[in-house]
């Protein structure tokens, strides 16, 4: 990829080393001067009001999308219903923003608070926009560390907002807070040296109470993972939960007797959920490294491939459930933890529904961590014969040294990280799937701190006697009963969005952003954005008008890997833009 690397140019060139503060101030001044009065008011009055308590009540203000998943329960659901199955065919673009750099695509989910959209693009470029018009209120460019290798890429999945600040993690493993009114940096803390951990932050932080909680990449590196919480106002460390117990801590014995606990991965590269009533944060922990060779780390390898429930105030472990002990397939448990309450026998069951890369969705009791069920969301699964009623894996099909093992699904997963959506209207979860396999050969090489620690080679293969196929499905999240399925040409790698209008929005790698009927899966509307969709669409409203925003722009590790399976996708164009849609306004209708 060397030939594609270019030094930053253009407007960001103004941010010379040592000059960024004054430049940011200049930007702020220009913004203040050039903004219309209404926009000035917007920029100055909004995210300041957001607190952890307000996000906990986010369902009461559907006009906003104030946290990464929309709400703490990771539903990716907006109850707005102005746009519905009968009128979605009239949906029309009202504005767009081009972020200006397409390297890394656009993987993010925008946030909207009281009429202001906050967006982060690749290389940690942050924008505040008038959510009605797209008018830019301010922008901020993170200083690209020129002399560093950037592990896991320069893309970024999202922000958190609150207490007058905008928070994000960086490609060189810092957490930064900006003044939400001006874009001026308020605080900046290094989480761990990139060279030491071979990790960085591509996932969105989440504001929980008075803290910003954030994970890190590093699951394929010789590294010890963690979740870190910083006080939102000052950036001071509140707590850190290591995903691998140290010597003397319970669970350290699950790593063998050597020092593999220092190198076993357990990354936390996506974003957790939160139950304010139980005061528990739920976070999916990534795979152990080395990914494809578990003989180097004899034992269950806690807390990799676990769901952990942490006390939100202290970061102390309340319970854990390990989905895949001693993983040797790179089946992260890092995906979203969807929190659903289901009435049963006159009581409310507090559930955690968790799609895993392995092709199964686990269902847990989120009060206790008790296993309830695991159901498959793809048909092609052979890495394990079954999962029994107690959650035990039966008949493991492990990669071996020297001779390839045929494993389904492959490490790309039954789906990628792009999040599912849950609609309380239908009671269904909407989730994509890929039917594919691979020949996996493992090898055995010791760890080198901060470097790749994978120990495997993978050749993608179709399922036995068939072709690689992809689809989009609706399931009962508890029983796993499939409600409908829609075939797709390529994997759906955009997050999904469910709305109160009975719709499911997502997009494909060819650039189409589309709406399906949530009950039938029928295609109701589509718009060609010109580049594939990899981020998180959202819905919000301003002054009574509902909008749907679609991040468009191909680029990520998964996209890089697609060309080996679908060679023609190597030619798909990159991009980095957000398209915003609404129904025609009364004036436009005339």
């Amino acid at each position: 990829m060397g030939e594609r690397f270019q030094a930053p140019t253009g407007s960001s060139g103004a941010l010379m080393p040592g000059r960024r503060v004054s430049c940011a101030l200049v930007v702020a001044v220009i913004v203040a001067v050039s903004m219309p009065l209404a926009a000035t008011v917007l920029a100055q009055s909004r995210a300041a009001d957001i607190t952890g308590d307000r996000i906990a009540r986010a369902k009461a203000e559907p006009q906003n999308w104030a946290t990464y998943f929309g709400t703490y329960d990771a539903w990716r659901y907006s109850s707005l219903d102005q746009i519905n199955a009968s009128n979605v065919k009239n949906l029309t673009p009202v504005w767009a923003i081009q972020t200006g750099k397409i390297d890394g695509g656009l993987n993010a989910t925008p946030l909207v608070v009281d009429g202001v959209m906050y967006l982060i693009a690749s290389e940690d470029r942050v924008f505040a926009l008038n959510a009605e018009t797209g008018e830019r209120l301010w922008s901020y460019d993170y200083r690209v560390p020129r002399d560093l290798a950037i592990p896991y890429g320069k893309f970024n999945r999202g922000l958190a907002v609150g207490y007058g600040l905008v928070f994000f993690g960086t490609m060189d493993n810092h957490v930064v807070a900006l003044d939400a009114r001006t874009g001026r940096e308020s605080w900046n803390v290094e989480v761990e040296e990139v060279q030491k951990c071979g990790c960085n932050i591509t996932g969105a932080p989440v504001l929980i109470k008075d803290k910003v909680v954030v994970g890190s990449t590093g699951g394929d590196s010789a590294h010890r993972g963690y979740i870190t919480a910083f006080y939102a106002k000052t950036g001071r460390l509140a707590w850190r939960f290591f995903t691998i117990p140290g010597p003397g801590e319970p669970g350290n014995e699950t790593w063998g007797s050597g020092d593999m606990w220092k190198f076993g991965g357990g990354s936390t590269w996506l974003t957790g959920s939160f139950d304010p009533e139980l005061n528990l944060i739920y976070w999916g922990i990534g795979n152990p490294s080395s990914d494809f060779n578990n003989s180097l780390r004899p034992g269950a390898n806690l807390y990799t491939d676990c769901i952990v429930a942490l006390d939100a105030d202290t970061g102390k472990l309340k319970w854990y459930y390990q989905e895949i002990p001693s993983d040797s397939w790179d089946f992260d448990s890092a995906y979203e933890c969807v929190l659903i309450d289901i009435p049963k026998d006159g009581k409310v069951q507090k559930l955690l529904v968790h799609p895993n890369k392995s092709g199964f969705t686990w269902v847990l009791d989120r009060t206790t961590g008790k296993f309830l069920k695991a159901w498959p969301y793809v048909d092609t699964i052979n890495w394990v014969q079954s999962i029994d009623k107690d959650g035990n894996l039966v008949g493991r099909n492990e990669p071996r040294e020297g001779k390839p093992a045929f494993v389904c699904p492959n490490w790309g997963g039954g789906r990628s990280w792009n999040h599912s959506a849950y609609s309380p209207q239908t009671g269904w979860i909407y989730n994509p799937g890929i039917e594919w396999c691979a020949d996996v050969t493992s090898f055995s090489q010791g760890p080198k701190e901060g470097r790749g620690f994978v120990n495997g080679n993978v050749l993608v293969k179709p399922p036995p006697g068939g072709k690689i196929t992809t689809h989009l499905d609706a399931f009962d999240p508890v029983t796993g009963e499939k409600k409908w399925t829609v075939p797709t040409r390529y994997p759906i790698i955009s997050c999904l969005l469910a709305t109160g209008g009975g719709l499911v929005f997502t997009g494909d790698v060819e650039g189409r952003f589309f709406a399906l009927d949530g009950r039938s899966g029928k295609l109701l509307w589509s718009f060609n954005t010109g580049s594939g969709l990899r981020g998180g669409p959202i819905s919000y409203s301003v002054n009574g008008r509902q909008y749907v925003a679609a991040p468009s722009g191909l680029g990520s590790l998964f996209v890089g890997g697609m060309q080996a399976t679908w060679p023609e996708t190597a030619g798909l164009p990159g991009g980095s833009a957000v398209f915003v849609f609404a129904l025609p306004s009364p004036q436009e209708k005339q």
Binding site: M1, K154, V189, V191, T234, F558
Partner: protein, 307 residues
């Protein structure tokens, strides 16, 4: 105070012995890895040699072709396809050697010898074919690299300084007081205080004294600044820079240090002290052995992981 001073005196007694041993060890562990650069031509003439290509295939399998990187056999995965692209050999070698800043591509100068890197070039340039030696082929073992330093046997009651253990302590992420919170070694670590890569030449006695008895700062830029804000928040740390309207301070109240940007209009009071912000209690935080380990690491000057 009494406890701290007693600790200091006790450590002071062992100073000379520890530093002498450490010096001897560090002089004795010069790596030979850097002395093996050969004229590139010696290897370039072998780029079509079957054994040379095959050797490169083995290395490729375990490094470049592993994981999410360039794919099995170099057909591309998370990182670009490499085979069949008619790339320039010198360009490939340089990229393998130095990496590509700003991307996940690390440099392999410290992991692979010149010969091994040229073997990779040979494999990448070789045509992909049915007899491609990919996936599962026994791989060439990596060269043995020496650790930062070997263990030291003092031959007496004095603690041995082990640079590897010292490195673990220096970078201990679970500790609020580990050195890396403020100091880097050769660029890797905190930026609050000086990079200790320049301190490798100091005697063990000097380093021990600096760790145990940090007092006044030698350079005014590391002075301790205490700022009280109108919000009531108090920041203690080290000033990084100052603009017309703002001041940027490393807040060391809680580690890791937080780089705070404060509007001057928000500042109630500012105090500056020439006393170092460095904790005074390392004599009780660390054992003698641990101090000797940290000193051995600093003197090894081997903080950089060459990423």
């Amino acid at each position: 105070m009494g406890t701290r001073d007693r600790t200091w005196i006790r450590n002071g007694l062992v100073l000379a012995a520890v530093s002498a041993v450490i010096s001897a060890v560090c002089f004795g562990q010069k790596s030979s890895a850097s002395g093996e650069s050969s004229p590139a031509g010696q290897y370039q003439s072998k780029l079509k040699d079957r054994d040379f290509i095959s050797g490169g295939a083995g290395i490729f399998t375990r490094t470049c072709g592993s994981g999410y990187c360039h794919g099995t056999g170099g057909i591309g995965a998370g990182a670009p396809r490499l085979r069949g692209r008619d790339l320039d050999p010198g360009y490939i070698f340089k990229t393998i050697t130095n990496g590509v800043p700003g991307t996940p591509m690390a440099g392999f100068k410290s992991d692979l010898t010149d010969e091994q890197r040229w073997k990779l070039v040979a494999f990448i340039l070789s045509p992909a074919g049915a007899n491609d030696p990919i996936g599962g082929r026994p791989a060439e073992s990596e060269p043995k690299k020496e650790g930062p330093a070997a263990a030291v046997n003092t031959g007496g009651a004095m603690p041995a300084g082990d640079a590897t253990s010292g490195r673990d302590l220096f970078y201990d992420l679970a500790s609020q007081r580990s050195c890396h919170g403020c100091h880097a070694m050769n660029g890797v670590g905190g930026k609050v205080g000086p990079d200790l890569g320049a301190s490798a030449a100091k005697s063990g006695a000097e380093l021990l004294s600096a760790i145990l008895k940090p007092r006044s700062v030698s350079d005014a830029k590391y002075a301790t600044v205490t700022i009280v804000l109108t919000s009531g928040d108090k920041i203690t740390g080290v000033k990084k820079e100052e603009g017309a309207d703002i001041i940027r301070v490393y807040d060391t109240t809680v580690m890791p240090a937080v780089l705070r940007t404060v509007m001057k209009s928000e500042i109630l009071t500012t105090e500056i002290s020439q006393e170092s912000v460095m904790p005074r209690n390392y004599g009780s935080v660390y054992s003698e052995k641990q101090l000797a380990d940290i000193i051995a690491f600093i003197k090894s000057g081997a903080g950089n992981t060459d990423r």
